[in-house]
Symmetry: C2
Amino acid sequence: MSAATGMKRAGAKVPVKTMARCALLVFASLLPAKAAPAAPARPVLPLMPYPSSVKLGVGEFAVNNGFGVVLRGYTEPRLERARRRFLAVLSRETGIPLRREAALNEPNFFIETTGPSAKPQRLGEDESYRLEVTPTAVHLRAANPLGILHGLQTFLQLVRVTPGGFSAPSVTIDDQPRFPWRGLMIDVSRHFMPVAAMERNLDGMEAVKLNVLHWHLSDYQGFRVESRRFPLLQQKGSDGLYYTQDQIRSVIAYARDRGIRVVPEFDVPGHATSWFVGYPQLASAPGPYQLERRFGIFDPAMDPTKESTYQFLDSFIGEMAGLFPDAYFHIGGDECNGKQWEANPRIRAFMRAHSMTTTAQLQAYFTGRVEKIVAAHGKIAEGWDEVLQPDTPRDVVIQSWRGAASLSDAARRGYRVLLSAGYYLDLNESAAEHYAVDPFAGNAASLTPQQKQSILGGEAAMWTEFVTPENIDNKIWPRAAAIAERLWSPESVTDPTSMYARLATVSRKLDAYGLQHHTSYPRMLRRMTGGSDPEPLRVLGDVMQPPELYARMRLGDYDVFTPLNRLVDAIPPESDTARNFLNLAETLASGKGTPEDWRKAEQSLAMWRDNDARLQPMLTRSQLTADLGPASTNLRNVAMSGLQAIGYLQRHRATPRAWRTSQLSFLKEAAKPQATLVDMIVPAVTQLVEATRPQ
Amino acid sequence: MSAATGMKRAGAKVPVKTMARCALLVFASLLPAKAAPAAPARPVLPLMPYPSSVKLGVGEFAVNNGFGVVLRGYTEPRLERARRRFLAVLSRETGIPLRREAALNEPNFFIETTGPSAKPQRLGEDESYRLEVTPTAVHLRAANPLGILHGLQTFLQLVRVTPGGFSAPSVTIDDQPRFPWRGLMIDVSRHFMPVAAMERNLDGMEAVKLNVLHWHLSDYQGFRVESRRFPLLQQKGSDGLYYTQDQIRSVIAYARDRGIRVVPEFDVPGHATSWFVGYPQLASAPGPYQLERRFGIFDPAMDPTKESTYQFLDSFIGEMAGLFPDAYFHIGGDECNGKQWEANPRIRAFMRAHSMTTTAQLQAYFTGRVEKIVAAHGKIAEGWDEVLQPDTPRDVVIQSWRGAASLSDAARRGYRVLLSAGYYLDLNESAAEHYAVDPFAGNAASLTPQQKQSILGGEAAMWTEFVTPENIDNKIWPRAAAIAERLWSPESVTDPTSMYARLATVSRKLDAYGLQHHTSYPRMLRRMTGGSDPEPLRVLGDVMQPPELYARMRLGDYDVFTPLNRLVDAIPPESDTARNFLNLAETLASGKGTPEDWRKAEQSLAMWRDNDARLQPMLTRSQLTADLGPASTNLRNVAMSGLQAIGYLQRHRATPRAWRTSQLSFLKEAAKPQATLVDMIVPAVTQLVEATRPQ
């Protein structure tokens, strides 16, 4: 099966969009929102996700050495750890050495908790909180520690530097989530992520109130958990890259401290090659098996006809059910192509004997058996939308990845559902595109209120074909924060302009949590240039984006050993520079540009034009940049086209038709990926050329 | 005692140099080295410290996915850990996922070890290695693991990106250190450094072949080790910021893995206020005592007349001798001002009874007693140069900090000595200044070869009045690498131009070890601007330096709680931009500038001139930048002066005498610190103005 057809799993959107369309979508979403009668006031504080109720007061609460945070009411060690972690983040953010011992200062920040939350944390627990900030004191109140954890994060977002020092504005915030299940899925099979990388991202999740880590622990390319009952799973299925059970427990404890549930996924019956290296008898064709090194969809699948398969799974799931305390257990179930089943006479005979005519029916049989095993171990099964079959038990949670239609269909049939279609971070879409995807939109809009209740929320998904521990933060953050807001904030909070403004703030704040999305990019640039000043490379990288995932797959021959050390791996998935320039170009094209706007646009275009001459001599010195020449030239040419268009627009001169036609045709060509990179300035320059008046 | 007089300890150089002189020193050291007949060829590979013998071959050894590193001959777990760590660093540096399992690839990198090294590591062990790189294989050979560790670091420095990918040049290197004791002292009392910060810096030490961590664990401001015999030391003397004994053991093991000894320092009888908070009976005046929050020299000192003091120290040193395996044990001994002793009638009576006329004699008595205790616990005592008295036992190691004279004096008297004078990183001197300090120079030049043998080496010292876990990497690195080269490389390796070129490479490479000297600066800038684009602030910061330590002390009222979150805390101690511009100005002033040189200088000066207008509106928005206005204006004015000078020089026009006089007088004024910052462009512009031809 070719990579091009085998990528549904890794890239959820069908059909593949062209980059030009993609860019126009970004553009459209950035236009100021039309003022609808019921539109809420634009959020005024840099909070994300934006709370459900914000009432601004008068004055400021100063954050300085006199800060004294105390716990009142119900308490537990987790709350004391949260208090210290809160002070540590605030100290890193401000540079103020805040005293960790509450006794050292007069209390002026009161945390009041009514009672405990469940252990393990349960879906649908009360996560609400009230945060009152006045010039003299802060009161944070919640029914249980979950609300306290969220409220502390809101306060951290309120703090900023002013002429008077660090402070938070007086405000009263009442807040609770719109959806109870707000997840981030991380695939640690295609590229293993060490505990430190998981912890960093749990810190990021806490910051934006995501509350489920969906841990994709096994797939073709690796089995990442120590099993004591079946040790060949990790010994032969992981290249030595797996979590010990102690590490798993420590990550779960780390997550619980942050109000985050951990749902493990062991993907069966397909996506399971890594199991078969140690236990080939589980597969539907004889072994031996090797770990899969390529990406795509592959044939190996568990044998659903042998009782020994279910005995193995019963024992394995029993072990894992003890290791992972969460009530939910994800069994995958996606993209089993059935080819091994069709090729096996014994399995064909089994199908005939059970009156099955399609492999989908056989998979439904398998899924039913596995769901019973999961239930027997006290867990609720969850699966990708393929697991939804006529006989699927009603308590199974369906995770919709193939499109929003499957979400509403399942909800209509009475299943509880999660939306992931539209939230795939590996597709390199913009934050605005993810932000525009609402679980209640589309077909779901026609659901009854009760059916809507069964939409539990959604999950951002980070598949890791092109993601390593080095760049994972950069690929997840800050975009995941926009999805977090979609799942937490009121449905009416939708303005992408406001979202982007607040996203920039939260992104900067995540630095103080130790996330590396800002630091990995310059470090990778320095690696690429091998010591030369990476500035001209940064100028290029700042306006580039990786192509949409499928497109990259088609552009190269990748496997798990491919070094991910090129510009495409270093840059953020979304170019802030390009988005801002697109806004500027739109202003100019609409005739509303100020002289300062014209000057800024000209300066930027001249910089991009001139960058090529500085960059080209550097590129050939390093293998990691040798293929960037065409992209740099392309940027120069696009910038020159933009400068010409600006010249015509400024002088209000009509343009020769031939020039306009040739430019537009050049720009169409220039929008195609160069060296796996997309020049994000093209849509803006296209706007400018189109705005010129033809003769 | 005032801060101004109490800073000898924290700042070793006497007398205080003016910044103008300091800048000229930098300048002088950057002139191309005069070609002396015996001068060695300039180092051609970016290695630091430069090896004693380098023979270049032909061709390149490629570093790629096929890399296979194997251990041969003697082996031990530490070597296997070193192999894996080597692959991890190389993988982070290159972005290539190197397989950790040696079995996966054909071996092409052979590590051959003859036998074990001592445990604990001993002073003077064989650290030599031979590294042979050919296009097909690498052979690293050493008598024991210490040489292997050093050779692996040399190989890491050889690797760079080329048009053909990552590779190392063919070369044969024979290498061994010039001095057996190459240390870095870190003060964790004035500001506590968590284990993670210690580990990062141990990684940096390994990279440049430093082999002693001198851990300054107690002082006025904090006692940082858990004592089980005297738990009030850490309970009352640390604000909760101390290392548990398990953490100490783990840092020692971490250091041993990297070929680094750990020598603890417990500073007595002065610098000991933190002991007295829990145990006031140790002091020479009645308590109670509080932790000292200020910086300087203070009166409290241990009572040398009471037997109970020695009983306490005997028990305490016995406990610590078991915790720290190294043969050496540092007892401080510096800056005891004797005031508490003079004020205590009982102590005065003791002195009379023992025919002592000075408190120095009393301290000598105390030191002698403590040295015997240290020896009784099987350790060799080490002390700052004050411990050298007429009766000091011959095996005590003297650490010279007050000047090179004390080094040669002690060596002449037969003591083994270490040089720290000239290597104080907190003084904010340039790498070139430290680099120019040789243990065999000055008075030491006249020592006999045997006396020279007793110079064991030296130690860089990082006192932490103005250093936090956030900026410590930036204050130590890369300058400590220049000191490491002075202590490792042949005496003849002295060219500062070559040093700076190689320092830039090693500094960049340290990123892959996890050091944060490159990442803390931009992060701290973003904090200061509170989200605005920090670029104009960076332009200012890039040409600024912190003033020499004493000068900063005089400019503000600091204590351990002062937030260190200003520009002066964020910038590196040495401005690369300023140094490079000084070189350029020198070229122009000497009449040897190319048109490109003139253009570059003009561009830089125009940028600094124009930066002020962009920066000023930002500065007032944040308390952390509010005091930077004068520094920014100063930079603008200095740049304008430079532009005028360039105008005269380019047109070969004589300058009006009045202009020249007024400019030079302005520049003298402009060289003074503004808001604790020194404008490092001033010396360069002064060069340009002085180069103009007066009428």
